[in-house]
């Protein structure tokens, strides 16, 4: 069990991790999610006693790492797959680590077999691909047969088969009763691998819940409604009618409406009753990736406007405005001066986590479709592209 209490790390004026408290329990895969630069690796280094926290503390089984008796047999970690001497063979690299932990040399050959590197064990790791490097790093983490395992972005650079292998390995390690803590910036990957999620943004805790809860809280169905663009007043009329009927309405940057809490036929009836024509009425399901991005985008946004830190609050489920009970928009605060693009619009209809980035990647980042440009988060760019893919029909 890993326990962090009020963990804080500052580098000069920059706060990398702020007052982070969480527990990582044995017997489950705990996903550690956050955008790039959100403090995941810093937290991992503090867990391993490599970086000294500015405030707070983190313990493994009740001990700070540096006081942990026989650390290499208790904790295994993959921090950086590139952190090997390129001139040393895979086997010698692992052997030196095994000797460091007092682990018998035959264990080296065992873990080389586990990660599938036995055929290249005597080759210098300089020529290894990123995927082979990840496997070597995972082998190093497994050396001491430890009860606590930390993996920092273990699927980076792996092919789909490798990703599946890592996913199954994590699950298997957790099923054996070990504590498995895996960082990633891919929500889709974590949704498939992890049992529990810890989400951080800009060094602060944004969510600490089971994957099941996260899914049920965030992947609610919604309807997309579009009224004729030539009649802006009908859009407001419909919004009022929908809110009155108990729905939550969220204006989308491209002029559509995102309606939750009302079934599709009811929306149609209400539109009919309000004498509003509809150009679109379609069912959608929000993806976890979207929920995650909405959750962390605030954190990404705040980086550029330091004075909005106060608005950084853990997002409760049920965002939207217009509903009497809902009050102000929650979960995400539209950055001032940029009201048109409050969050990246995602399709959410692609269950395959690998198809998404691959579909978006080859396209050159074209101008954002939203009228008010200045999309603040780089993360929103591929999202916008995939959105266009799925809505070519209209």
């Amino acid at each position: 069990m890993i326990e962090a209490v009020g963990l804080t790390k500052r580098y000069g004026a920059k706060t990398a991790v702020h007052n982070l408290s969480f527990q990582v329990r044995p017997g489950a895969v705990t996903g550690f999610l956050g955008p790039n630069g959100s403090g995941k690796s810093t937290t991992m280094r503090m867990i391993l006693g490599l970086d000294q926290p500015t405030a707070g503390h983190v313990t493994i089984d009740g001990h700070p790492f540096r006081n942990l008796p026989n650390a290499p047999r208790k904790v295994g970690a993959l921090l950086d797959a590139k952190a090997v001497h390129g001139g040393r063979s895979a086997r010698m690299h692992l052997l030196s680590l095994a000797q460091l932990g007092g682990i018998p040399a035959r264990r080296v050959d065992e873990v080389l077999g586990v990660v599938g590197l036995q055929d290249v064990a005597r080759r210098r790791s300089k020529g290894f691909s990123l995927g082979m490097g990840q496997r070597l790093g995972i082998a190093a983490a497994l050396l001491g047969d430890p009860q606590v395992l930390l993996f920092d972005e273990p699927v980076n650079g792996l092919d789909p088969e490798g990703i599946l292998w890592v996913r199954n390995l994590m699950k298997q390690l957790a099923a054996e009763g070990r504590t498995v803590f895996v960082s990633s910036h891919l929500m889709s990957e974590m949704a498939l691998t992890a049992d529990h999620l810890i989400v951080i943004g800009r060094g602060q805790l944004m969510a600490d819940m089971s994957v099941k809860d996260f899914i049920s809280a965030n992947s609610a169905d919604f309807a997309r409604v579009r009224t004729p663009e030539t009649e802006p007043e009908s859009r407001e009329k419909l919004t009022a009618a929908l809110v009155e009927a108990g729905g939550q309405v969220l204006a989308e940057p491209d002029g559509g409406l995102r309606v939750t809490g009302l079934p599709l036929p009811r929306i149609s009836d209400l539109a009919h009753g309000a004498d509003v024509r509809l150009w679109e009425l379609s069912p959608h399901q929000a993806s976890l990736e979207e929920a995650y991005m909405r959750m962390t985008q605030g954190a990404v946004d705040y980086r550029s406007t330091a004075d909005q830190v106060a608005a950084l609050a853990p997002p409760p489920p049920g965002h939207g405005y217009g509903h009497p009970g809902a009050g102000a928009p929650q979960g995400w605060a539209p950055p001032q001066g940029n009201p048109g693009n409050p969050y990246p619009v995602l399709p959410g209809e692609q269950p395959n986590p690998y198809a998404q980035p691959q579909a978006a990647a080859p396209r050159p980042p074209q101008a954002a479709p939203q009228p008010p440009a200045a999309a603040p988060a780089p993360a929103s760019a591929p999202a916008d592209l995939t959105k266009r893919d799925s809505e070519d029909a209209r």
Binding site: G49, D80, V84, S96, Q99, G102
Partner: protein, 256 residues
């Protein structure tokens, strides 16, 4: 204390499994011996043309060590690489995650590297001496003569300490480029310039290499250093201790 044994074993595996060890130490031996032999042979053929003062103060032992000025650079590279490789590759995180006791880690590493350097340095010194003496012909000295054995052993110790000093500096600076960029010009050029200029000579004789040279010399006529061979050696040891203490302070305090 079982940990110390484990780290020593691990560091030995690390040191013998990279090619840079063979290259740097091999180069140190070959360069020192070859250059020493060359200069010894050159000295013999030119002995008659040398000024009288140089002929009177001629030190055959120290002449056969003439290659060390260049050979020590390879020792510096060895010392720097052994330590800073951990930082440049990122291995340091993996290593310290396995050995949270940083003093144990650093000093075990330096112990193994020092022992390796010591063996090569001693071989280098003795081979340089015997090859150099053979080249000097009639001007040679013998290992049995007064102070000569001390000087030859001193030559090996000197080269070892140069490597250890480099390890300490590399542990302080953590970057191979920065460490080499400071150490190489310093020991190859700056120190000897400071030692040759009259104004700085008094200070320069306390620099690690100039003080350390004293233990490899047999003839010290016309030398106004206020310390003897072992006094000079002690000054060099002091430098090494300071460098290692600095390296440890940096490792202990800094985030890896």
């Amino acid at each position: 204390m079982a940990v110390v044994g484990q780290v020593l074993q691990s560091e030995w595996t690390k040191i013998k499994s990279v090619r840079s060890t063979v290259w740097t130490l091999g180069l140190a031996l070959v360069v020192t011996v070859a250059l020493g032999a060359l200069i010894s042979a050159f000295t013999r053929s030119n002995f008659k043309e040398m000024p009288l003062s140089e002929r009177v103060n001629f030190d055959p032992t120290f002449t056969s060590f003439a290659g060390m000025g260049l050979g020590q650079l390879a020792m510096i590279v060895f010392g720097v690489l052994v330590v800073s490789n951990e930082y440049s590759t990122g291995m340091i995180r993996t290593s310290l995650a396995a050995v949270p006791q940083r003093a144990t880690f650093l000093f075990s590493k330096i112990t193994v590297a020092t022992f390796t350097a010591f063996v090569i340095a001693m071989v280098t010194s003795f081979v340089s001496f015997f090859v150099g003496q053979a080249m000097l012909g009639s001007h040679r000295t013998s290992i049995g003569d007064a102070h000569v054995l001390r000087a030859v052993i001193g030559g090996g110790l000197y080269m070892t300490l140069i490597a250890v000093f480099s390890m300490g500096v590399a542990a302080m600076l953590r970057s191979p480029m920065l460490s080499l960029g400071i150490l190489m010009p310093f020991f190859f050029i700056i120190s000897s310039i400071l030692g040759a200029v009259k104004a700085t000579k008094k200070v320069a004789q306390y620099l690690p290499d100039q003080a350390g040279h004293k233990v490899m010399q047999v003839v010290t006529v016309g030398d106004d250093a206020p310390y003897g061979p072992w006094g000079g050696f002690a000054i060099m040891v002091l430098w090494v201790v300071v460098a290692l203490a600095g390296g440890y302070a940096v490792l202990k305090r800094h985030d890896a």
